[in-house]
Amino acid sequence: MSAEKLINFELNGKLTKVKTDPEKFLLWVLRENLGLTGSKFGCGRGLCGSCSVLVEGKPVRSCITALKIVEGMKVETIEGLAQNESLHPVQQAWLEMDVPQCGYCQSGQIMNAKALLDEIPEPDESTIKKRMSGLICRCGTYTRILAAIKRAAEIKRGERS
């Protein structure tokens, strides 16, 4: 059992300090200490991706990432995606296509899609499949996820529906 420690990191653009066990997984820090419940607990072993958040812009499985690892880093969660008055292009595409069914895995899907498009603005289908592989949606919304990522790329390019 590690002693509590004050850990600083940037969460959705805001400097955040949490005093807790530095080994505590980021998912539970977000959900329990900070009240951000959008990132979900699915498997606890980094297998399903429902807990995905971005650390320094890269998708990370927060259910197996100790808080101390993100010390001083930039963390983004689903709650920080919509800026000012509007949804993020990935969310806009998700809304247009009505992607979610039960919705439980969708925060993780959306965060991975955001990271993908930040890195590769116009991914082809096989790149999307490669990068979104390893994210489990039990409802099977994959067809719409694929379509929504293509649509989000268009929205980012400035094409409105």
Partner: protein, 698 residues
Amino acid sequence: MKEMIRLNRRDFLKATGLTGLGLILNVPIDAAVAEQAFIPGPFIRIEPDGRVFITVSRSEMGQGVYTSLPMIVAEELEVKLDDVIIEQAEAEFRYGVMATGGSNSVKSMFRPLARAGATAREMLIAAASEELGISKSKLIAKNGSVSVVGTQRQISYSQLVSTAAKYDPADFNVKLKSKEDYRVIGGKGKRQDTLAKITGKAIFGVDVSLDELVIATVKKCPYVVGKLKNWNSEKALKIKGVEQVIKVDNHLAVVADSYFTAQKAADILEAEWVAVEDFSTKSVHESLVKAKQEKASEGFELGQRPNTISNDTLTIDYEAGWQAHATMEPQTCTVKYSPTFIEIWTPTQVPIWAKKTIESFTGLSPSQVRFHVTFLGGGFGRRLERDMILEAVKIARKVKSKKPVKVIWSREADMRNDFYRPASLHCMRASFDKGSWSSVEHKLISDSILASKFGQGVLGPNKVDPTALEGSRFHAYQIPYQRVDYKYVDCKLPIGWWRSVYDSQNAFAKECFVDQVARKLEKDPGLYRVELLTDSPRHKRVLQEVLLMSKWDTPTPKDKGRGCAVHKSFNSYVAMSCELSLRNNTPVIEKVYVAVDCGLVVHPDTVEAQVQGSIVFGMMATLFGEINVDKGQVMEGNFHQYWMPQIQHMPEVNIKIVDSDEAPTGIGEPVVPLVAPAIANALLDLTGKQPTRIPIKA
């Protein structure tokens, strides 16, 4: 429950700049407002400010009831779908049946909701008539207002609330709209829960937050049937933040300030269990095979039993393994307990049944148990069970600090303590007379879900579970003699209703066998089915649509296989064809064609989503995972052992929704049963060998 309001209009306006789309509230009605509101029944409330609230009495688990059910009300009430505010019903008898299952939400709620909407509309028209002094025949309701025909005059619903509230709904005889006048039903209505689900604001069971909430997780007995022998909680209790270890049945619950802490303590908690039943996948398979020799009971018979025994026969055995529900959200339940009042928040498909379970367990009266339903992170039948809710109450009443407790199972606890799709063996026998199919017999050997839930007594003297026969019959096909026999075998593993239930195994056996019969008769399996479906127009229509869509009459491309299936379940008719290839000896599903006839379609987009999702669900149980038991323990504990299809496995899906004037029927389940036989038949086409067991091992 103030804590659950993470979602209000002002927040959304600030965060998203969007208005009116997907506003979902989960708050008790304010008594003062209720007094002034127009509440013509349990499903509709129009407040003095004109806001229209629609209560959804079914659980939203992804199947779209937060959209399809309000669409039915909005149609008759003459309001826009996006202008209504959706409320989840608490478990209360005034809503009638609240169970969400059997693909019946739209089917069973269509008329009650349409009538509720129409009644409210007529009452508002009557109120307008009284207010304006104009005959009702000159008034029409449209877009949240009542207008005077042929003039610009109109009066909004908000101005009619107090007058309409004086009337008795029983005095209104209403006529429902006809299909030609629909503007909401059958339209493109946006899903009302999307916005909440893409912004992280939807409140699932695991997201419930209350003041002073403590978290518990359960270290489960590793044996399916086992006993807790002894345990030592000393080390676990030394972890900072751990409050208590509670024995609950044969399991141990750890109560802590965090799930992280609770799980860490559970991992080091010392405990010893003993197995009470030693059984395995292999031993159960052997007992199913052994039961083949034993006498079965008659389940279903159609036509005249042939007098002579034909020598020209075909016999094949098909088998299906156990499957878990594996909802993405593990089992969870939050309980605020006191000896005289219990409040529960949980993602359940059966709030009324669960509430009654808690009432009878605690001896409390209905008014002493309050029951809230959250969003469900998947259901698929797992949340028709009440085990988790009862367990959470047992834990909550032992929490020394008296704080409310949220119980969250680990994935491993969830996967190993499921109520699985039963394993089954299907012995098929066909006889032929002068080259035509004269009889079919199906001996179905499996565990009984009914017996497992309600005791063997419900099976009657012949030990037949009528639900196990669902989908086993060939009766759509013109075969002179048909018979299904049922043999009950207790397989020891807890079983339950898994999306599409027994239809999933029975359609596999039935539709695979039809292909083998066609092959024996040297007929095309698609066209042979059409030939056999002469008296079943709805089956035939969907099949013909699928054959057309998939260009069945063109030669199968090289190195590919094509298979089809047709099946009716939950009163909906579905046909499917699939095209696949083999890569490293593993089937790759490339294209799937589906035609569905589920009667009148309220929300086509939901139907499309359910078809796509059902294909993935069916693929999983056909090609990916299986639950196995060894030495009385469930082996698979997480997704590395119980493998799931991912985006790269998703085939191209083409869907045809057949236009129908029949009453609406289900869509959440009826597509699932076709996936396994369509794949197995495509493999037969490609390789000449048909897999006879699902999941198919490469």
